[in-house]
């Protein structure tokens, strides 16, 4: 018992590396089970996981849509003709809120106060002029600070007004009929419903948020409670500790994400998911590994849970909002797009997810995204490992 040399460990070269690998895998498995037990013992975190993958996804998908709906329109009707009434009647829900009729003097104050995004001004004798083929004009005032609705809303209103005018003219002047017929078909989302998009993007956001918070918090908790030192006096190496945290927490998020995609997105929200779920989960596994590595990295930068919160929130906000999951990647300046594609795995995962789930792309198409995520993850992990040694063993 007091014998200092461990009896079971003759230093045989050759077999050492294989045995070493087995030992390390056994340690990893053991530590991963320990992490899973820790997660199970924390009801608050589990509640957060459940919330993030259910209610959170449902409310964002159904509540905050940036597609043009419920547009607030007012009409200044100085014609009061059947045509002007037909234009007002053409503004139907769900695209429009019922149009309000206001006087010309109210236009400025109402738009200043943001009560309406659109005001349609119909001049006197409008219908008569249209029928007589006289030159006349409808004016649409648009509050161009309502950036998500102004552009598309204008296009819809113009179409409705143009259709009504064309109908009025139709009986009289058949030559004016359109020479061609343009049929627009949207692929993979024929009605361009935004919930189809936001639900899946919200699943991605939840994966990012939870993996980063769970792994980082798991590391900080061990550092704060001193248990990490306890582990390090044992025959365990830092990379095993880090990997076990990524594996355990990643597994939990991945399982929750898969369930959420099938139950909440597919069944509750009724979004038809075109592609292969297995391929998506495989890609999500790579992504979870990368964001777990990011969580560990942040966990080595902050010293306390409080600091970790202050650090994680801006990082999470930037990675989410600049990932193409909120606004199109092509809309960002080229330099910013390059920066984000280099430092963050999220844009790659968003591209991957859109390809697989909406367009039904296969591995042959999406492999570059997978590779990019894995490469970024490897860099994160390498830096985290260096910092981990520095932080735990002193600078």
């Amino acid at each position: 018992m007091a014998d200092p040399a461990p009896a079971d460990d003759p230093p045989l070269r050759g077999s050492t590396s294989l045995r070493g690998l087995r030992v390390r895998l056994a340690n990893l498995a053991r530590l991963t089970i320990k992490e899973l037990r820790s997660i199970r013992a924390d009801p608050v975190m589990l509640l957060l996981v459940v919330y993030a993958f259910t209610i959170n996804i449902y409310t964002v998908a159904t509540g905050a849509s940036i597609e043009a709906t419920n547009l607030a329109v007012a009409i200044v009707d100085e014609d009061r003709s059947p045509l002007s009434r037909r234009i007002a009647d053409g503004l139907t829900p769900p695209l429009f809120r019922p149009a309000t009729v206001i006087g010309a003097a109210e236009i400025d104050p109402a738009m200043d106060a943001g009560r309406f995004v659109f005001v349609i001004e119909i001049p006197p004798r409008f219908e008569a002029d249209v029928r007589a083929g006289r030159r006349t004009a409808v004016q649409i005032d648009v509050d161009a600070t309502a950036i998500t609705q102004a552009g598309n809303g204008t296009a819809y209103i113009r179409t409705i007004v143009a259709d009504q005018i064309a109908e009025t003219k139709a009986g009289r002047e058949d030559g004016a009929a359109a020479p061609i017929d343009v049929v627009v078909r949207a692929r993979s989302n024929p009605n361009l419903k935004s919930s189809w998009f936001t639900s899946v993007m919200q699943v991605i956001n939840s994966i990012t948020m939870l993996t980063v918070i769970l792994t980082g918090a798991a590391l900080i908790r061990e550092r704060e409670q001193g248990t990490v030192e306890h582990l390090l006096v044992m025959p365990v190496v830092p990379s095993e500790i880090m990997l076990s945290k990524i594996l355990a927490n990643g597994f939990v998020t991945l399982a929750a994400a898969g369930l959420s995609l099938v139950v909440v997105v597919g069944w509750w929200l009724g979004v038809p998911l075109g592609g292969s779920l297995a391929l998506f989960l495989a890609g999500a596994a790579v992504y979870v590994f990368t964001s777990g590595a990011l969580g560990i990295l942040l966990g080595t930068v902050a010293n306390t849970m409080g600091q970790y919160g202050l650090l994680a929130i801006p990082v999470l906000l930037v990675t989410q909002l600049l990932s193409g999951s909120a606004t199109p990647l092509e809309s960002m300046p080229a330099w910013l797009r390059i920066v984000m594609m280099t430092v963050s795995p999220t844009p790659h995962f968003v591209l991957f997810a859109q390809g697989v789930l909406y367009r039904g792309a296969g591995l042959g198409v999406v492999w570059p995204s997978l590779l990019a995520m894995a490469a970024i993850g490897a860099v994160y992990l390498g830096v985290a490992l260096r910092r981990f040694r520095r932080v735990v063993f002193g600078g």
Partner: protein
């Protein structure tokens, strides 16, 4: 009520959940005396002191302090002004980044003292405690003993009639400990009317108190002068008396510790060797050329104050921390680079409990057994053996968090010896453990050393434990002052006890400044004429702008000295504004467009030109087959494809109204919708051009114009609207999180005790702490406005004064919201994430950032308008983009002010002046 009793407790009980901390305690604490509440950790001492000091809410029974009923808020408020309370933990109610002077000064301000009075009092107190050379040093950089002296200065700043000290000497070296008690003695000599109540776990220092109350399990088991207590128990020392006074069932478990002589081992290689071991952190030398040799099977004790380098030395021996200089070896094997093999020989127990609270006792043992790779068939029997030997079988399936400290320490020891290491390194294994459990622990250690030849290296604060070691070493300020057998060391210094020997070495090393022996308070009273000598000082004012300012000033100083929070406050919003301003754009451009022309006539090419000429589209190579189109959509290579059927040109010429198909990628609906509206626009203009071509210029007159006026943002650029909206988001997110952390931080570090124990009101506390964050948010707003103008070219078109006023009201509301959240959360993490989650959803989704409030209906609208962001968004966008002023926006400003007041009132209601 008689003045000879300073505090009277009647039938007082207190429980935390199911745990009973105090069980029907009746106690009359005599006035004008030095009263000790003694007993090990967890018997209810702190709870009792907290109730007497008024920082803990009374649950059951009655407490009269200084003749006032502490259950009554008004009486408590006036009594609190005459009480000083120093909570447990070294410097726990101090502010580590503030200097010694600033700390004491803050307390002076809380009691409404003028600048001259504060200065005079600080001078007297600092001289008396020997802190005067260190007035500029941050409290966090003081040694444990000095922190406690500083805590005492802060407590004495207002000449209290009752001084409540909760374990003031735990973790302090013997010399500092003596100095501390001498200091209290001289203060009492100068102010004999002052009563002192002290809690302590060190029985030996309790012997010099005037009156004692010994506690066990929430009950007072003995009371009276030390002589009376000793006589009652019939023992010579208080430690022995305490054990003798315990209930029969507990006492039966106790067996005295006998140290058996160590069998002779003449092994040439010592178990542990340190030679010139040194560790530096930056310029600070934590361990300075420490050398010792420890033989096999020896029990080696390590003594010294907190922060003297004991733990650092132990960490270097385990290989947790690399040495800056020197070397350490275990059994002749160097620690540095010893790696895995070395670790199998060492069992380590760190200072704080460091096993997994979320795993059961058995799971903890199992985890360690497997990580040490015990053979699988041995694990079960080894765990069973340890559970039996360390008396853990009853709690094998319990979680350590729910167990008393003594059992947790046994578990830690069981884990440390699990793999049968030859060396045990134990960092303060018995700190906070009751005497019976401590003795049991020591018997196990002696068995391990004597029967199994395990070398034990441990640190301790208890002198009677040090005397049981084979040899001890005294460490001070990183250096070893002496090494030797306990009896030999006392002989060497010619002192009666080991403690006296250490004190004399420490005094020689001269690390701690010795305080003056002169009585303190008499000096203070001559120097400070104010209310000090009055027997009953005037009741403190209910609302005092001075106290509010004291809090604001202190919070600002702390904030300015915390780089992480400062970076978050100033840089955070700017980085996010840049990222969002550039990143969140709803301008849909650069759409990849490909032609699928199956006609290839001049007519089809003319149509395609009108598409490829658009500034929104960038042209990709044309598509030639339907499968290629499928494939390129799948790869995300194209966003829209215009398919022209064969025979298009002829059909057009024959006015047969040919159909063309435009395919767009719907993966991203907003982009798809915008693409569709671009296509509609292009088709309309193409049709018009064709009509003009066919019917000639006369037709132009007949066309009805549909004119569109983009107001406020003629160029229709995203950035004009997004930047003011992002400012709305930044000024809620960052200030709310900052102020949320502010209150919770005090709860976590313990300085909230100063709010609880002084006459500070909740409004003074909240508003005082809020002001610095409002100032920071306004500075951050100025920076945001500057970046908007310089980087994005977005400037204020309306009234800048209205915007500034609106912003001020808005940040008062958002910081108030943060404080409201932090009034009901308990940890900083919870406060940060709760604030972020609660604030972000309405601020992003329902306040006009993405969807105009005018388009919201039902619950979303209520949710949006129930939050200040929706009211500030029109102010920000209105003044930046729409050119509005106060005349248009005053209703919004009124609502924002109402929000600010509402949050303050709600936080005031939630924030408790007392702990429950």
């Amino acid at each position: 009520m008689s003045e000879t009793v300073v505090a009277r407790l009647t039938g007082m009980s207190h429980r935390y959940g199911a745990t009973v901390a105090l069980d029907a305690v009746d106690l009359a604490v005599p006035a004008g005396r030095m009263v000790g509440v003694i007993g090990p950790d967890g018997v209810g001492k702190s709870t009792l002191l907290g109730l007497v000091a008024g920082v803990r809410r009374l649950q059951q029974g009655e407490v009269q302090v200084l003749g006032g009923d502490m259950a009554d808020a008004e009486q408590r408020r006036t009594r609190c002004a005459r009480i000083a309370y120093m909570p447990q933990g070294l410097g726990r109610n101090l502010y580590p980044t503030l200097s010694v002077f600033e700390n004491i000064d803050f307390f002076g301000r809380l009691f409404g003292q003028g600048a001259a009075e504060r200065r005079a009092r600080i001078d007297v107190l600092a001289r008396a405690t020997g802190l005067d050379p260190f007035l500029a040093r941050p409290a966090g950089k003081l040694s444990g003993g000095m922190k406690q002296k500083l805590g005492l200065c802060c407590a004495l700043m207002h000449d209290p009639d009752l001084l409540v000290l909760d374990e003031p000497t735990t973790g302090v070296d013997p010399l500092s400990r003596r100095q501390f008690w001498d200091l209290i003695g001289s203060i009492r000599a100068g102010r004999p009317q002052m009563s002192v109540i002290v809690a302590t776990a060190y029985m030996e220092e309790a012997e010099r108190f005037d009156w004692l109350a010994a506690m066990d399990d929430g009950r007072v088991i003995a009371r009276g002068t030390p002589a009376e207590v000793l006589a009652q128990a019939g023992r010579a020392s208080l430690e022995a008396a305490f054990i003798a006074l315990l209930p029969e069932a507990k006492r039966a478990r106790h067996q005295p510790v006998t140290v058996r002589p160590r069998p002779d081992t003449d092994d040439a290689t010592p178990a542990i060797v340190a030679e010139g071991l040194t560790r530096r952190f930056g310029s600070f030398v934590a361990v300075d050329h420490v050398s010792f040799r420890i033989g096999r099977g020896e029990i080696f004790g390590f003594l010294g104050s907190n922060g003297c380098g004991k733990t650092t030395t132990m960490k270097m021996l385990t290989g947790l921390l690399p040495a800056s200089d020197g070397r350490a070896a275990l059994f002749g094997m160097p620690v540095e680079g010893g790696g895995i093999e070395l670790r199998r020989n060492v069992g380590y127990m760190s200072q704080a409990f460091s096993l997994y609270g979320e795993l059961t006792v058995r799971q903890n043992l199992d985890l360690h057994a497997r990580l040490y790779h015990l053979p699988a068939d041995e694990i079960g029997s080894r765990i069973a053996e340890l559970l039996a030997r360390y008396d853990l079988a009853d709690v094998a399936d319990a979680h350590p968090d729910s167990l008393p400290l003594g059992i947790k320490q046994r578990l830690q020891l069981a884990v440390a010896v699990l793999h049968r290491p030859a060396i045990l390194i134990l960092d303060e294994p018995t700190s906070g453990v009751d005497p019976i459990a401590r003795d049991a622990f020591w018997r196990t250690l002696i068995d391990l050393s004597r029967d199994e030849g395990v070398t034990i290296f441990l640190s301790t604060h208890f002198m009677n434990e040090a005397e049981r070691c084979d040899r001890v070493s005294l460490m001070h300020a990183g250096k070893v002052l002496a090494v030797g057998a306990p009896a030999a060391l006392a002989r060497e210094r010619g002192t009666a006890s080991l403690e006296d020997a250490f004190v004399s070495w420490l005094a020689e090393a001269g690390g701690e400044p010795a305080p003056k022996a002169a009585p303190v308070a008499s000096e203070a009273e001559t120097a400070a004429p104010a209310p000090s000598s009055a027997p009953a000082p005037a009741a403190p004012r209910r609302f005092d702008p001075g106290r509010l300012w004291a809090y604001a000033r202190r919070e600002a100083m702390e904030l300015l000295r915390d780089p992480i929070r400062l970076v978050f406050a100033f840089l955070g919003p700017l980085v996010l504004l840049l990222a969002f301003g550039y990143g969140i754009s709803f301008d849909v451009e650069n759409l990849r467009f490909a032609a699928f022309d199956q006609d290839r006539t001049p007519e089809s090419r003319a149509l395609l030109e009108s598409f490829s000429g658009s500034r929104y589209f960038s042209e990709a190579p044309p598509v030639t087959t339907a499968t290629e189109m499928e494939d390129r959509f799948r790869r995300g290579d194209v966003t829209l494809v215009v398919e022209i059927p064969p025979g298009f040109g002829r059909a057009l010429q024959e006015s047969r109204r040919p159909e063309i198909a435009v395919w767009i990628d719907g993966a991203m609906p907003f982009r798809g919708e915008t693409t569709r509206s671009y296509v509609a626009g292009l088709a309309q203009s193409y049709i018009r051009d064709r009509t003009l071509e066919r019917l000639g210029p006369n037709a132009a007159a007949a066309t009805v114009e549909i004119e569109t006026r983009f107001r406020y943002n003629q160029a229709f650029k995203s950035v004009v609207a997004m930047v003011p909206s992002i400012i709305v988001l930044m000024l809620i997110l960052i200030p709310a999180i900052m102020s949320a952390v502010a209150v919770v931080r005090e709860k976590e570090t313990g300085s909230i005790a100063n709010f609880q124990a002084t006459p500070t009101s909740a409004v003074e506390f909240l508003v005082g702490k809020q002001l610095p964050y409002v100032a920071v948010a306004m500075a951050s707003f100025a920076a945001l406005a500057l970046v908007s103008a310089l980087v994005f070219g977005v400037t204020v078109h309306g009234s800048a004064a209205t915007l500034t006023l609106g912003t001020l009201l808005y940040v008062f509301a958002t910081t108030g919201f943060g404080q409201l959240v932090s009034s009901f959360t308990r940890t900083q993490v919870a406060a940060v994430f709760a604030t972020a989650i609660i604030a972000v959803v309405p601020a992003v989704n329902f306040s006009g950032l993405l969807v105009p409030v005018a388009s919201l209906s039902g619950g979303a609208r209520v949710l949006g308008l129930g939050f200040p962001a929706a009211w500030y968004q029109p102010v920000s966008v209105g003044t930046f983009a729409k050119g509005l002023g106060l005349a248009d926006l005053w209703p919004n400003l009124m609502v924002l002010a109402a929000f600010a007041l509402l949050y303050l009132a709600a936080a005031r209601l939630v924030l408790r002046k007392q702990e429950s």
